[in-house]
Each structure stands twice: as structure tokens, then as C-alpha cells.
Symmetry: C2
């Protein structure tokens, strides 16, 4: 019932666990075709190229009138008898015009009378060439030109570029289905008032939205009570339904902590325990070719495990570069002691000094040692480092856009 | 038909246009209550506080057994006759336990026999106090404690914090409805093959997704042909239905460019033309207390106008801090000449030098001078600056996460 006790020094580091996991888990990247607007925020699976030229034939490059360059061969002509629709037509930016005309004069250099007559106000030295101020076919967009690159997350501007080139559906990387199984006799669903001994399951909503942010498709299972058979059952179901499986809670040495045992016994064990806290009793295994991860129960522990382990796991399942939280330098406003032997997650509140320098204040929850959620940033303490001194500059990872933090 | 010609020097700068607009347009910030999960990504309108204490009564702070501290008053007792359920019970992290017990010993320091007997492996000098290793009521969460702050965008961690504190719905800032009206005889909807003289309306999808990213609710209208009456009609409809109205195209000096005239004549004109390109012929007015913005037709111009003008306008309608694109320093890989008299949008491709330094390469579209969309970043040239030299460090604004750019 009680896991082998190891000293913290014997735990693996976060990096080592990921290295070992990625050594034995090499997911196949699968793609699917989706209508263009559903591709927003997805990772493009293949380069996309323009299907046609734009303009199709030609287009005026400015607001003006289209004329025949031949009429200007011997200099600026007498236009006193010219009429709109005969010797010239209107041709504004982007407009095509009749083949009878081949050049454009900008509107600022002409005066069109109410009767359709024309007065030119061109400088004497104006030289006319066929095609002047006219964009040829394909000058805005050339058939075959690269519109969007494989491996990139599709942005609003990408959607516009793809649409302009005639693309209406695109192949994207399939989102990995990430199962989340909350476990614990003490848990009740949100919306209920907790009674003595009860706690609200707020980790499901945390995981659901974080998984979505990371590019996965969350599959949230109901709360599972601490019964070995029920847990085995739901793990098998999740293994059948998902690509990555997260079991939350029951990871440590408690009476009901057989989740670690179940996941480590179900496939190839990668590790139990990690040199990181909160969430030190984390278990990682691979079963049926799928990562099976036992996150610790406390919300801050689940959050940290999602950040350091599930984020790179989902990125790997997407075959994409890891997009970590934004890192900024900030000056510590007080001493922060660190464990040294583990990478500790310290929540940080951020403010700005008058000179613009960012300030980092640890958001302690002194009553229970768990960092409160919903802070501005996080500091992950370095292995071997036991003190961040007041006034020292540290790298912190932003949990909110910088613009929101005064 | 032709707007007054002004020299570029007489145009207003972007900042001046926004200043003048914000002087006469002071939107009322409205709120609405939404179920918690719909609050993700929305701006919280009021501070939210915990509705109850957690734990409700108490909870073990570690995996272990609960005992009576009185039994330890005179030192470590003889436990040879102790039985589980009588002198002690199991109490794991987060567990409450019967009132008969008051302290917890960690599981590593005890051995529980198969028959429910107990062996203690405590250091001799262990001192017992009531409540040892027990978290009191409210130690994880105190009723009334701040869970999430007004004015902040709700994150996944905020959702978890709010749920854990018993919050099931929250007041958020109402999204401004932002109408987008594409105009132009040459436009056809995406999915069609353009014929001679036609162009695909890809600005609607661009605006729709950018408006959503900026926190607005896009309302996309069908393509409106260049007919004065049709345009007036749709502007009136949009003014009735939306909080901010964008008319795209018809902003310049072409024959069909009466959009500027219509919007500037409909309310209080703020400006026509701006010291910025592409999109110089932009018009801004306020009608019926709502911003009425005429963005230029070319997609890059519409994009730039959305970035510099619509983004701060939506932020103001949300009463929120502006969250601009992330700015990074990058070294220019080639000379880039700039107009000096206007702030020019230059699209940039980003790469990384071996030493990690970011490199900025202008993504020219030499054929028509319009910057291609879907680049990695943008450089907005400074007023007064006419050259960015190769090797110079410039500030660029990222359009993609840095992790995606090699």
C-alpha cells in the first residue's frame, strides 16, 4: 500500500522525466482536413499555396482614369474633345478596365467635367509607357505562392491570406484527446456547498481550459471515488478513448493512493516522484503507447504538473514547438528561500516601479504552504539555489498579459 | 466626389486621431452576468471573494494517522494494544477525521499491521501538540478572501480559484458589438473563383477573428456594392445594431469612394487621412455616440487599421488596459528605407542567429508595395526616421509566438 520511500535526492528532475518519457513515447502525428474558419488556432499540416493569380488580368494601382498610352506617344495630347467612356474611363485602385485602355493617370492630375470632358493637369515632362500605374495579372498574388507554412498556428491574418488564395479547407494536426480523471472520496462537484470533510473539484475546470489552451481536446471524466476497481475501470476506458490520460489525486502514500500503483503497473513506468513541488508524488508511465500521468491532488500541484509535464507532452503529440509562458526579468521585493533540492513553484504578484522595472513579490499563502492560484506570474526555483535575495533579478513566467499588470 | 486634397504633412498622426476620438467618445462600460465557464477570457467586472471556509472543519496536512494528542502527553506511549478505529484512524492529506482525534502522525513514521495494530517509529524527542499536522478550518481558503480581481481577464487558474470558493457565475464586461461592412463592386465571397476584375473579400474573416481576439463580438455584414443609398442604409442598420462600426473600402478618392464622405457627414468627424500606411485614406467619426471607422480596402491596410485604431477602441469599450502585440528587439538583416512622414507598416520575417539574437528581415512584396500578410512580425516605422540600417536593432511586434519562429 505504501510506495517505496525514496529520498528526494533520488527523485528524477522534471527534465529527466520528460527525457525518459520522450525516449519511449513517440506519438504518430495525425492530420485531418477542416473548413478554413475551423483552422483558426490549429497547426497547419501542409504548406498552402495560392490557387490563382490576383488580379486575374490587371488592376489599376491608384484612383484615376484609364487611357490609351498611344494617345500620349507624342507628348500630352489636346483633350478638349475627349469624352468619358470614349477616350478614357474611370479606373480606381483595384479596378480592371476595358482592353481599349492600357495606362492609368491618377485622379489628382485630371479634372473631369460634369459633361464627361477631361482636363489634364500633368507636368510637361510626363512620360507615358503602356501599363503605367497598372498592376499586371498575379502582381498581388501569384498562383503557387506560399500563403501559409506547415507547422505554424493559423492566425487571423493567415485565414485572410488563405482565403484570398482560394483555399477553403486545410489539413491541420489532429488535436490529441486528453482525458482528465478527478479522483477522491472527499470531492464534490462545483456548485455544491462543501460539508465537513468535503472539497470542491476545481481541478477539472482548470485542466479542461489549460488543455484547450495547450492545443489538446479535453475529455473530462466524472469524479471517481477511491475504489481500486473503479479506478482501474476508468483508466481502461480513458486509454481506449484518449491519446493522453491524466489521473488526478491518489498519487502519494495515502491509504487510497493506489492511482500511482495502478498507472505504474499498467504499462512501462517512467517515474514516480519528481524533484518538483507542489506535486512531488507525481507518476508517469506509458501504456498502450499513451502517456498515463498521475498528477497530485492539490490544485496548485495539478497546475504545476500541467505546466511542466502536460504542456510539453501535448506539444509533442502535436509535433509542434513548445510555446512556453512568456518569461520576463523582475526584481525581487523580498527574500525568498528555496528548497534547493527541488524546483519549487512560487506564485508571484507583479507590479511596476516608477522607472518601469518589474517587481516580483512572492504570493505566499503562509497558512498551508500551497501557493495560491490566480497570481500574476510564477517563479520556478532553480535546483541548487536556496535563496532569492531581495533586490535580485529573477526570471518569472507571466500568467497574465503584461498590459493587465500595473 | 473628390475629397479635399491635403498634403501628408497635414494628416493627423495615429496617436492624435485616437486622442481626438477619445476626447469625444467616452463609452459606458456595461456588465452582464455569465455562468462561470463562459467567463473564460472575459474581463471580470467585480472582485470575487470566497463564499466559505476550506477545509470546512479541518484536514490532515499529510498522509498519515490521526491520534489523540492526550495519549502523547507523557511521551511516546506503548501502542502494543492499539487498534485502528479505536486509538487511531487513517487520515491522509486533505482528509477530515472523527472529533475523537486531534493530531496527525505522518505515514512514514508508523507501521500498521495487517491486524490493525500500530508500531510507532517516532524519534524519542518528538513533542506532541493538539492540532499537529492538521490544517484548521479556513486554512486553505478563508471565507471572504479575494479569489479574482476586477479588471483582469479570467484565466483557467482563475476559473479554478473561483470554483473552489463557491462562485458559479460572475459579472463580466459586456463585449462591444463590432460591425464590419465590406464594400466594393469588385468583391466576391470566399470560395468562389475570381473572374476578371474580381477580388475575394478576405477582409471579413480577418476582421471577424481579429475583433474576437481583441475582446469584441464581431457582427459581419454581407458585401455591399458601391451604391450610395445601399451604403447609407447599411450604416444606419449597423449603427442600430452595434457599438462600433467599421466600413471597409471606399475610403480614398475613387469614383465610388463615398464611404468616407458618408461616415464623416453622419456624425462628428474626427479625421480623414492618417500619417500611416498602408491605409492612409482612413476616416474616423463618431455618430450616435459610436465610433464609425472607414478602413481602407487593401487587406494589409485593413489589418493595420484594425491593429492601430480598432484595438485601442475595443479596449476602451471594454474599459480595459490595452494589451498590445509583444514587442521584441531584433537586428535588421538589410537596409529598410522608411517614408519618415508617415508610420509605415513593414511586415517582418524573424529568424534566430546562432548566438540567439533575433533577426528581422523585411518581407517585401516588391511587385506592388503592399506588405504580404501572414508574416512573423511587423515593424512600424517611426515618424521622422527614413532609414533602418542593416545591423541596427529595431523593435518589432510579434504576430506569432516566439516559440514557433526558429
Amino acid at each position: 500500500m505504501i510506495s517505496d520511500k525514496k529520498t528526494i535526492q533520488e527523485h528524477l528532475s522534471k527534465a529527466e522525466i520528460l527525457r525518459r518519457l520522450f525516449e519511449i513515447w513517440n506519438p504518430q502525428i495525425r492530420t485531418e482536413s477542416v473548413p478554413l474558419r475551423e483552422a483558426y488556432g490549429r497547426i497547419l499540416a501542409e504548406d498552402q499555396r495560392a490557387q490563382f493569380d490576383l488580379p486575374v488580368v490587371r488592376a489599376s494601382s491608384m484612383d484615376g482614369i484609364a487611357v490609351r498610352s498611344a494617345d500620349f506617344r507624342d507628348g500630352i495630347p489636346d483633350t478638349s474633345s475627349w469624352k468619358i467612356g470614349r477616350e478614357f474611363v474611370r479606373a480606381d485602385t483595384g479596378d480592371d478596365f476595358d482592353d481599349a485602355y492600357d495606362s492609368v493617370i491618377r485622379i489628382e492630375d485630371v479634372r473631369i467635367g460634369r459633361d464627361g470632358s477631361l482636363t489634364l493637369c500633368l507636368p510637361e515632362e510626363t512620360v507615358f509607357e503602356p501599363g503605367m500605374n497598372v498592376r499586371p495579372a498575379g502582381s498581388m498574388l501569384k498562383k503557387g505562392v506560399l500563403l501559409a507554412r506547415a507547422g505554424r498556428t493559423v492566425t487571423a491574418a493567415d485565414l485572410a491570406a488563405l482565403e484570398s488564395g482560394g483555399i477553403t479547407s486545410v489539413p491541420v494536426i489532429r488535436k490529441p484527446r486528453v482525458g482528465f480523471i478527478p479522483t477522491g472520496d472527499e470531492l464534490i462537484s462545483a456548485g455544491n456547498i462543501p460539508q465537513r470533510g468535503q472539497n470542491i473539484d476545481c481541478n477539472s475546470i482548470l485542466a479542461e481550459f489549460m488543455i484547450r489552451e495547450m492545443g489538446g481536446e479535453p475529455v473530462c471524466y466524472p469524479i471517481i471515488r477511491d475504489k481500486r476497481e473503479k479506478l482501474k475501470e476508468i483508466v481502461e476506458r480513458a486509454l481506449a478513448e484518449c491519446d493522453i490520460i491524466l489521473i488526478n489525486g491518489g498519487s502519494s502514500k495515502g491509504e487510497a493512493d493506489f492511482n500511482a500503483e495502478i498507472i505504474l503497473g499498467r504499462g512501462t513506468a517512467v517515474s514516480h516522484w519528481v524533484k518538483a513541488a507542489p506535486g512531488r508524488p507525481m507518476g508517469v508511465a506509458v501504456a498502450d503507447g499513451k502517456p498515463l500521468i498521475n498528477l497530485s491532488g492539490p490544485t496548485a500541484a495539478a497546475f504545476y504538473g500541467l505546466e511542466w509535464c502536460v504542456r510539453p507532452v501535448i506539444a509533442r503529440a502535436l509535433g509542434s514547438a513548445l510555446c512556453p509562458r512568456r518569461s520576463v526579468s523582475a526584481v525581487m521585493t523580498e527574500d525568498l528561500s528555496a528548497p534547493g533540492v527541488i524546483e519549487f513553484l512560487c506564485m508571484i504578484n507583479v507590479s511596476r516601479r516608477e522607472d518601469g522595472v518589474l517587481l516580483a513579490t512572492p504570493a505566499h499563502n503562509r497558512m498551508n504552504g500551497n501557493p495560491p492560484l490566480a497570481a500574476d506570474a510564477m517563479l520556478i526555483t532553480e535546483l541548487g539555489k536556496t535563496l532569492y535575495r531581495k533586490g535580485e533579478t529573477a526570471e518569472i513566467l507571466l500568467l497574465r498579459p503584461l498590459g493587465e499588470l500595473e
